[in-house]
Symmetry: C2
Subunit: 262 residues, 2 copies
Amino acid sequence: MNLQEIHQVVILGSGNVATHLAIALKQAEVEILQIFSRKLEHAKMLAVKIGSAFTDDIKQINPAADLYILCVSDDALANLIKNFPIKNSLIVHTSGTISINIFDLTQANGGVFYPLQTFSKNKEIGFKNIPICIEAKNKLSKLRLSNLAHKISNNVHLISSEERKSLHVAAVFASNFTNYFYQIANEILKEKNLSLDLLKPLIIESASKIINCNPTDAQTGPAKRGDDKIISSHLEFLNSHPEYQELYKLISAHIKQNFSQI
Amino acid sequence: MNLQEIHQVVILGSGNVATHLAIALKQAEVEILQIFSRKLEHAKMLAVKIGSAFTDDIKQINPAADLYILCVSDDALANLIKNFPIKNSLIVHTSGTISINIFDLTQANGGVFYPLQTFSKNKEIGFKNIPICIEAKNKLSKLRLSNLAHKISNNVHLISSEERKSLHVAAVFASNFTNYFYQIANEILKEKNLSLDLLKPLIIESASKIINCNPTDAQTGPAKRGDDKIISSHLEFLNSHPEYQELYKLISAHIKQNFSQI
């Protein structure tokens, strides 16, 4: 048996990250021994999908796994680690923000296995391009986690807790906040009975642009051009939405300032 | 000769919209008679690309075209229309924000031909999916513009000036402001010597999601989950960037409020 290989894992959690990760690992022929969730129904639902055992009792967690993957919310993480019954095994969390040090009090071999992607319930996703950010306390654990990550992705990186936090904050801007702006766009259009479909080619093109183009070079729009007439006319248009108006004003000012400095 | 068809056009302007539109029209076998730009060098550069005549003298604009397409900045538009020497011909602007009424004083047959997309200098773009928003003063002009638009796109819509303004404001949020957030993400990563490449799969997935998913359903992240611990930790991380911190705080509050109401 090759100690550098991880053959059997237990997944703790049953949300989007747990589900997508479990499916990807199973497809890579990693054996999922067991799913744990505080809600038995949730554990069962995911376990049935991937053909594994399941439990809602932390004392019943299978001690034979090579790796325990904690896919629970950041809030639940500290408590779960504190009560985790198996010591000295390799155990990782999947959080963008929580430091590896969260394991220090009770787990000698804690690490991080953070897939940098937005996971939705009903949308399948290919793992091959997803960056997986690995962190571990020692060389062997790094190697083992890295080997596992390479089974599901071609985009594996050793990333420190501090770097990972940068990535997570940047990801909030680049994904969560941009999605919120799609919501604002949708709301503005709805009032005129226009469909968001009209903006979808623009949205896809705007995101695709930055694949080959620095986002500073990709910037377009009235604020970049310093077109105050349009900005005023848009702000007036947004009179009935003071919260959107505030954002429009603030971000346009930022963009104008950036480009006046270039 | 079919009066509903537009065979020959003159393009006024030489920027991104003029360039991409000229190329698309030429590929659709519409004849570009002439390129006009205030700067002769600019007019020439585009004219050479598509094999047309060019001028920087507004009095030399070819009077034989079926259509004149004004692809100039909103600021330059009123002046260009005022000085435009040919009356009673079909003439359109390509602006998202300016009303069709800008033509009223001097042009009886003004209209709008607005391609809803972000155009960059060095990035080719397929026109087939780009929504083209048409507006005109009479049925025949609507029909002629619509026929022309269908030659380059399968996504043609009759859109009023008021609706078009909604679309443009929504587009600023969905494209210009999201791109600015890619810039912020890039800046945050740069400080840790991390590459934006790490976020690209996330950025593409976040935009692709809304093709089949309402953006409200697609929302993820700490603010949506009401995860105040992460939000605080990210705000602290942004202490050295008060301008990003302000945006983070404001948008997180918006998202939290939206989702607490659902």
